[in-house]
């Protein structure tokens, strides 16, 4: 087999996949579990992977599927809202208004992203944080590249609105 040993893949991508899952689940223990599961599944399927496949995008697809299943199960248990509330509680109180728009935005982005619908959140994080192209995101989300792009744009608009809600109108006056 012309494949690189699986350990190399673990070495190269574990941290990034963990951070991705942390970003979309907002809970460290869950993202650790999901990252572990991602690599265990990847190991089982690795042999069947085409030698020229994009391993990084493939790992993101597995991680995304697991995250989506996880949220689906969560929702069934009706715990989804509790999770989001917990996230908000964590970040509450850490947002004194910054001097610049960037700092302001950075302070509230966590919260705004946590409030996004799941698909938009996944698309946004994959595109803006992990720099995947729309074709890869489309494969992750099981949709067309156009829909993937639309998810990212809707996410941006929604974040923009959320930030407006967090940031008092005072900012508008300063502009």
């Amino acid at each position: 087999m012309g494949q690189q040993p699986f350990e190399t893949i673990l070495e190269a991508h574990h941290a990034e996949i963990y951070r991705y899952l942390l970003r979309v689940t907002a809970r460290a223990s869950e993202s650790d579990d999901l990252a572990q599961e991602t690599f265990l599944r990847a190991y089982k399927a690795y042999r069947a992977l085409a030698p020229d496949a994009n391993v990084r995008a493939w790992l993101f697809t597995i991680a995304t599927n697991l995250a989506r299943n996880h949220f689906r199960a969560e929702r069934r248990r009706r715990n989804a809202h509790a999770a989001v509330r917990a996230t908000r509680a964590e970040t509450d109180g850490t947002g004194p208004e910054g001097e610049t728009l960037f700092k302001e935005t950075r302070a509230h982005l966590d919260r705004a992203v946590a409030r996004l619908p799941l698909k938009q959140r996944l698309a946004f994080v994959l595109r803006k944080v992990h720099d995947l192209d729309y074709d890869a995101i489309a494969r992750n989300l099981d949709c067309s590249a156009e829909s993937a792009r639309a998810h990212v744009f809707h996410a941006l608009k929604k974040i923009r609105q959320e930030l407006q809600a967090f940031a008092p109108p005072r900012m508008e006056l300063q502009q």
């Binding site: 690599f39 265990l40 042999r47 069947a48 935005t105 950075r106 944080v129 744009f153 508008e172």
Partner: protein, 323 residues
Amino acid sequence: MMRLPKVCADIESDIIAAATGEADPATDRRVQEHVGVCPPCGGEFERYRAIDRAAGAWRQAPTPVAALARMRKRLESRLSDLKRRTFTYRVFPSPLGNILIAVSEQGVSLIEYLGRAHTLSQSRLARLAGVEAIEDGAELEALSRELLEYLEGKRTRLDWPLDLRLARSDFHRTVLQTTASIPYGAVMSYAGVACEVGKPAATRAVAQALRWNPLPIVVPCHRVVGTSGSLTGYAGNKIELKQRLLATEGIPTVKAHDEFQIPRDTMYARYPGDDSYCLPTCPSLSTLEHPHQVVFFGSRARAEAAGLQPCTTCRPDLHPLAR
């Protein structure tokens, strides 16, 4: 929110694209021209740009090194556990029916006659607790080809690393290891194997161990027969497979009273532990303490291929058996 003027509403998504690095150069230019003359849209542009930059800043967020190392360690230990339990398998057709071959990281672990069945669910592998079975064509292609060559008599050795973990006990493993040393083209009795493993009374236990042999053909349990020369049994009820495998190796069988017999009086014999082979009538054989331990060869060629010399007493080289 206030209603936007039409021109601003029209360009809104272009502004988002341009501010977040998603726009083509023409769109970029158009947006720059507009925001230059429209302060509210300029403000929007800046806000979207801030969102894009803030998300980008997440990329540089410090990695929790210690926590990640801990998680890596846990993952690596789970992975090595998974690897230990993982077997890749392939089912392929052979003259003896479909055969499943499975390998682990340590070596070839299972060869199973599936008959007409051809799916994992009909295999022993599927019934083993804690086992991960992954179908694989590429890696096992070469092994299955070698096995087929062996079954056709085109190859007399299978030099594979073996993984005997699927044996049911240490005793079974010892029996399998002893059986693996019976040379190609030769047979030995169950009682003989029992003597070799140091338990001369355990003939039946040896037979049981071979009945559950996870690696038939490679661990040649077909070369173990009854002390009477009867083939006795093979892999449950597949006695005709045993007869075929022996025939491929040049070992004759005769059918008598509904069962196959090895005609030992027409075969060359090896005194246990000796490096020569004899005629079955050689006087040296009558003094044996454990006559069951004699190994019988179907031909001189096979005996010599196993590294044996003709006996200097009975001279099988001068008086070969008539066949």
